[in-house]
């Protein structure tokens, strides 16, 4: 993508010059792939000396109607700041866009170097020294993330287990295709919902491979705070154990790189409180079902014509992956 042709380049350069000290302009603006619901742009700010690597997170086309679950970009920026203050590794937010900036809702943050693609993190030599420490780091980071003072949080939806189950049951029922294994999972979840968590906390909601910026030294930043909410902290520990996020490394339940024991130890050592493995398993089952239902609704976008791509269509044929994972969790053969 070349510079001058992009309509946001000139206004973005003005914003950067006005609000990030010492900058003289921007170069290398390009849209990054990934992030279906938010635009992510990479660019460098120029200064008298060196360049400053930055990221713009922006609503598609500059604005979008607030969805049921997404927090909005100003809230996302605030959460990143609060998490950073609680020692969670995050990219520093440099500026939150204002209406008069003319490029919509969004914010500018530092661009942290590293890798988010699971297959590289799980297989490349570059990350060989990081892999053994990642599960424990996940636990430590989640303990800090869950320690953020609730009184300081911006308004967030409160979503304990019952409302998460209801939300996905509704999506599944609206889609209409019969999935006996999903029904079995919904029934199991209803029968095994843990007692309400005594301590609701900030929950990241999408803490997994893809949203963790990882370097040879370990986790450098937690990204994509879009579906953060207040709920049971064990939700985050269960979600990263969903088999879909192990990317083939089925025997390494935490993100394909480590053990639950390492994650739980890290969590408890960093002050996260005692982990109840049964509660984490409940959230792993619910997380597996959630991903399965998300795969089925991708079909809706295909069938309605909103997205006729083959890629979109075939994601529907991945919901069966979660059915076999649910059976292995709830009705094991062995």
């Amino acid at each position: 993508m070349t510079g001058g042709s992009n309509p946001i380049e000139a206004p973005l350069a003005e914003v950067v010059k006005a609000h990030i000290e010492g900058t003289t302009g921007i170069t290398g603006l390009k849209r990054l792939s990934g992030g279906a619901s938010q635009e992510t742009w990479s660019f460098d700010a120029t200064t008298a000396g060196e360049t400053v690597p930055l990221i713009l997170r922006r609503a598609p086309g500059g604005s979008r109607p607030p969805s049921e679950t997404a927090v909005g970009l100003a809230t996302e920026a605030k959460l990143i700041e609060l998490a950073g203050a609680a020692s969670v590794p995050v990219p520093t937010v440099r500026y939150v866009l204002a209406k008069e900036d003319g490029i919509g809702d969004g914010f500018i943050m530092n661009r942290v170097a590293g890798e988010t693609i699971a297959r590289k993190i799980l297989r490349d030599d570059e990350f060989a020294n990081a892999r053994p420490i990642l599960a424990r780091q996940c636990g430590e980071i989640l303990a800090k993330l869950h320690s953020v003072d609730r009184a300081a949080l911006p308004p967030l939806r409160i979503s304990p287990a019952e409302s998460e189950i209801a939300q996905y049951r509704n999506i599944y029922k609206a889609h209409g295709h019969p999935h006996p294994v999903f029904e079995l999972a919904l029934r199991w979840l209803a029968d095994n919902t843990p007692p309400p968590s005594t301590a609701h906390t900030l929950v990241h909601g999408d803490f997994r491979n893809g949203n963790l910026m990882i370097g040879p030294d370990g986790i450098r930043a937690v990204l994509d705070w879009e579906i953060a909410h207040v709920g049971d902290p064990m939700e985050d520990l269960g979600w990263i154990c969903v088999n879909s996020w192990r990317f083939g490394n089925i025997d390494q339940p935490v993100g394909g790189f480590g053990t639950r024991e390492d994650m739980f130890e890290g969590y408890e050592a960093a002050g996260g409180g005692t982990v109840d493995p049964a509660r984490v398993k409940f959230w792993e089952v619910l997380g597996t079902l959630k991903w399965g239902i998300m795969c089925t609704i991708m079909v809706t976008a295909f069938k309605t014509g909103a997205d006729r791509s083959v890629e979109r269509a075939t994601i529907g044929r991945r919901s069966s992956e979660t059915e076999i994972d649910l059976l292995r969790l709830l009705a094991p053969l062995a």
């Binding site: 029904e183 919904l186 890629e311 059976l327």
Partner: protein
């Protein structure tokens, strides 16, 4: 009855064409989407090969389990209804076996390389 080649053979030939002749001449997004398209045709081929027999077996298992005759879709809707209502569960004779067989078939068509499927086949062989 249709003539030769079979639908499965035709689909296989198109997938081979995409992979071995079209894809090498494509770049970037187009190459990626061509790969996705070839993978989708692989699903179609496996479904053509596997589903006729497997669906008939699924329907007869469901008919026995539910004690009724209906289309495959109606049988599945009725099973869903009974599981939701708690009338049928893992303690119901035949349900666990039925769900496993049905799901293993789905994976053999949709994603035969999926880790959970490969592991389940190993576990089934051991069990």
């Amino acid at each position: 009855m249709q003539d030769q080649p079979t639908a499965s053979e035709l689909v296989e030939a198109v997938a081979d064409f995409i992979r071995n002749h079209a894809m090498p001449q494509l770049q970037g997004h187009a190459a990626f989407h061509a790969r996705v398209a070839a993978n989708a045709l692989d699903i179609v081929k496996r479904e053509l090969d596997v589903a006729p027999t497997a669906n008939a077996e699924e329907a007869s298992r469901l008919a026995a389990l539910l004690g009724m005759e209906a289309s495959l879709e109606e049988l599945n809707r009725e099973l869903c209804r009974r599981i939701e209502a708690g009338e049928v569960g893992l303690d119901t004779p035949g349900l666990k076996d039925h769900l496993w067989r049905t799901t293993l078939t789905k994976l053999s068509i949709d994603q035969p390389n999926y880790s959970g499927y490969r592991r389940a086949l190993d576990e089934e062989a051991k069990g």
